[in-house]
């Protein structure tokens, strides 16, 4: 056996917070001590700050950004961030071009009109044509298969395109199909339609005064985070969705933990046969496969007509969520009952209420607080998951989960539609996880969290 060797490596500085902990002055209340320990941890503080920001953004945001999240702007479908585009007022009318070709026959297809309401194309007629097929691309075609969206066909040498037009470059290809089944592609036509809005539509949406006429311009509302497939403002929907997600994510665990605490408290304090039966029942609920029953319950509770589906989501989460905290609280009580100081207090004639308030509550509160901060991410995830498989909240309500689900389908063309709600979910979950960590350290609680 060699003698003791200490090397410099064997010593290390105590971590920052450990040093601080020892400086906590005696005589402070329990919660004051906890706060002292909590606030020295930068991660905890950061998470608290993030969460405060998120919550106040979601709550106060609508006061600043007052667009209606349900307002549909068909003129501005699926746009990326923009600060208010200028559109020209038009009044779409039925197009009935003269059957005879124009006097000067255009050599190649020409656009007679190009707005986002309609693009009118005309070309010189060819002999023995069965149909003219119309294709629209967003760049120059590379080969004969690469002609773009098939729009339809026309038997006359003109076509009006109204399909999903945006103010961007389009390349139209007219393919003439002859009666002998051969096909010839006409020279391509490049068009960038002007952003337009129907006069009646603009009036209806209160964008222009009654006196406005066709040809006037109007500035459309700005959409800092873009719009969705129906032209609804993403920022407004994100704020609305946040209220739903955070409401579900906070209220469900709160109620579940509260109910569980009462249940566990009763079981623990009563003890005996009642305790056993009560806890057995809680164990049954814990044994249910969570996601499966979440789905089942969600479908079972259903969403009535006109309901937004938040209540069923809350209920399902509460029904499945309460037993965990019931177990925790009961465990704490059983532990405390064996503590000498409690027995001493009892001997000294302390009544139950005093015991509950002085010893039990602070201890239990700590555990519950930590349990809560880990239950919140779980609830937020459950909401997102259910939305992903189509069991989320219903319009006009929306949630971050529902928004991510919608964004998933646009991940390639409009990635921010997924990015924003997913980032909000992640930030919130991250915040609560870190907060939970910090709280646990500060409260110095040894506990088992369930697998994520």
């Amino acid at each position: 056996m060699s003698e003791l060797h200490y090397q410099p490596d064997d010593f290390e500085a105590l971590p920052e917070n450990a040093r601080q902990q020892q400086e906590i002055p005696p005589g402070l209340s329990y919660w004051a001590k906890v706060w002292l320990r909590f606030r020295v941890n930068p991660r905890s503080l950061l998470s608290l700050l993030t969460l405060t920001l998120l919550i106040s953004m979601v709550l106060l945001g609508p006061l600043i950004w007052s667009q209606d999240p349900s307002q549909i702007w068909l003129e501005s479908r699926l746009q990326d961030s923009q600060g208010g585009l200028v559109a020209v007022l038009v009044e779409p009318e039925l197009w009935q071009p003269n059957i005879r070709p124009p006097v000067t026959v255009p050599a190649r297809p020409i656009a007679l009109l190009a707005t986002t309401e309609q693009v009118r194309i005309q070309w010189a007629p060819l002999a023995d044509v069965r149909h003219y097929w119309l294709y629209r691309h967003t760049r120059m075609p590379q080969d004969k298969d690469d002609v773009g969206l098939p729009l339809g066909y026309s038997d006359t040498p003109w076509y009006e395109d109204q399909l999903n037009l945006k103010s961007r470059l389009y390349v139209y290809t007219v393919v003439a199909e002859f009666t002998d089944d051969t096909q010839v592609a006409l020279p391509v036509l490049e068009v960038t339609p002007q952003l337009a809005i129907g006069l009646s539509s603009a009036r209806l949406q209160g964008l222009v005064a009654e006196s406005a006429i066709v040809g006037d311009t109007v500035t459309l509302p700005a959409h800092p985070l873009g719009t969705d497939a129906l032209g609804r403002d993403t920022l407004a929907r994100l704020l609305l969705g946040g209220r739903t997600s955070l409401f579900i994510g906070l209220i469900a665990p709160l109620v579940a933990v509260f109910l569980g605490a009462i249940y566990g408290g009763i079981a623990g304090l009563t003890g005996g046969r009642t305790d056993e039966i009560m806890m057995r029942f809680a164990d049954f609920i814990i044994a249910l496969p969570f996601l499966l029953f979440m789905i089942l319950l969600k479908v079972l509770l259903g969403i009535g007509p006109g309901e937004n589906g938040i209540m069923p989501m809350l209920l399902a989460l509460i029904i499945l969520g309460w037993p965990a905290s019931a177990r925790l609280v009961r465990g704490q009580i059983l532990q405390l009952r064996q503590q000498d100081y409690v027995n001493a207090a009892l001997l000294l004639g302390a009544n139950r209420r005093y015991l509950l308030g002085r010893h039990l509550l602070p201890n239990v509160m700590g555990v519950l607080l930590v349990a809560l901060s880990f239950a919140i991410p779980q609830a937020i995830f459950a909401e997102a998951f259910l939305s992903f498989i189509g069991l989320g909240v219903t319009a006009p309500a929306t949630s971050w989960g529902t928004l991510s689900n919608e964004g998933m389908r646009l991940i390639l063309s409009h990635p921010q539609q997924l990015l924003f709600p997913a980032a909000c979910i992640s930030l919130t979950v991250l915040g609560f996880n870190l907060l939970g960590d910090g709280l646990r350290d500060a409260l110095d609680i040894q506990m088992q969290e369930g697998p994520a």
Partner: protein, 315 residues
């Protein structure tokens, strides 16, 4: 010990009965009509179908038949997969979910211990901070986002390479399994990494380590032989529930990667109101979960001499 296991098994059976009953009544309270088709079903056909599935009997008779069939291990005939029994469906698709789950758990356990160990080894220095940041990010991003991003990356990598490095979706070979199981395991891995780190840090204050250090054992040897080994105990305990969580939690990954697992069937069955498949799958998963927790408790009792199984019952 034997008595304890027997008691636990009995208790497990009661739990399974509870799950079966809860599912049965939840099922029959579900709004909707399992026999509805896209096109209207004439009253004649409807009556014939109800007879075929026994839905014309009173509820208590259906319940009795359901329980007695289940006791015999017969989960019934699917409503949508008209000529397959639920037993067939479970037998065929559970192994897929299980394979996916096991692989992802293996990945999660190895990765979790590795990263957790590394983080603890470099505690409070930059590798620790970096690892813990990644870990907490993995816990914080929803699974379906991770899965979609992973799939997209495969496509882009394949296109960039010009040949198929990894299949985009589907099932059948080992190559199909890597990405889905990694995605599925990430959250568990992150969780295990945190657990391992915390457990290591806690253990590092223990007397026996001071003793070992005092004996002059090399740092590396102490870390791998003493610290890590003991720190892994709590990791073992959560593996049971983790197996269940990972096996039953693969819906999203199964949906996105087109994997014929049981989870996908369950979601489909709920949407199509396939009574028998919903009940069969839930009961099967419930039983599986109960079994896993039981096994984990027993294993823990065997591994850790400080825990007496008989006592564990009361906590």
């Amino acid at each position: 010990m034997g008595l304890y296991i027997l008691k636990r098994c009995l208790y497990g059976l009661v739990t399974v009965w509870f799950i079966a009953t809860a599912t049965f009544f939840a099922m029959h309270a579900l709004p909707g009509d399992p026999l509805a088709e896209d096109k209207a079903v004439s009253p004649e056909i409807r009556r014939n179908l109800e007879q075929y599935y026994g839905l014309d009997k009173p509820l208590y008779q259906q319940y009795a038949r359901y329980l007695s069939n289940m006791a015999r291990g017969d989960l019934g005939v699917s409503f949508t997969q008209k000529n397959r029994s639920v037993n067939d469906i479970v037998a065929e698709h559970f192994p897929v979910s299980a394979a996916l789950g096991c692989l992802s758990l293996l990945f999660a356990a190895l990765g979790g211990v590795l990263w957790g160990g590394l983080a603890a080894r470099f505690r409070n220095r930059w590798p620790d901070n970096l690892i813990m940041l990644c870990v907490i990010l993995f816990i914080s991003v929803p699974g379906f986002v991770l899965a979609a991003l992973a799939q997209l990356s495969i496509v882009e990598i394949n296109r960039w390479l010009g040949w198929t490095l990894l299949p985009v979706a589907g099932w059948g070979s080992l190559a199909h399994m890597w990405v889905p199981s990694i995605v599925l395991g990430l959250a568990t891995m992150a969780y295990l990494a945190r657990l391992t780190r915390a457990s290591l840090l806690e253990n590092s204050q223990q007397e026996y380590l001071r003793m070992a250090r005092a004996k002059g054992l090399s740092r590396r040897r102490i870390f791998w032989h003493h610290e890590l080994r003991n720190a892994l105990l709590p990791v073992v305990t959560v593996l049971g529930p983790a197996v269940a969580a990972v096996t039953t939690g693969g819906f999203v990954v199964e949906l996105i990667f087109a994997i014929p697992g049981l989870g996908r069937y369950f979601v489909q069955a709920v949407q199509q109101l396939d009574y028998t498949v919903i009940m069969g799958t839930t009961v099967f998963y419930g039983a599986f979960l109960v079994l896993m927790v039981l096994l984990a408790d027993i294993v823990y009792g065997l591994v850790d001499p400080r825990v007496s199984l008989a006592e564990a019952d009361h906590v």
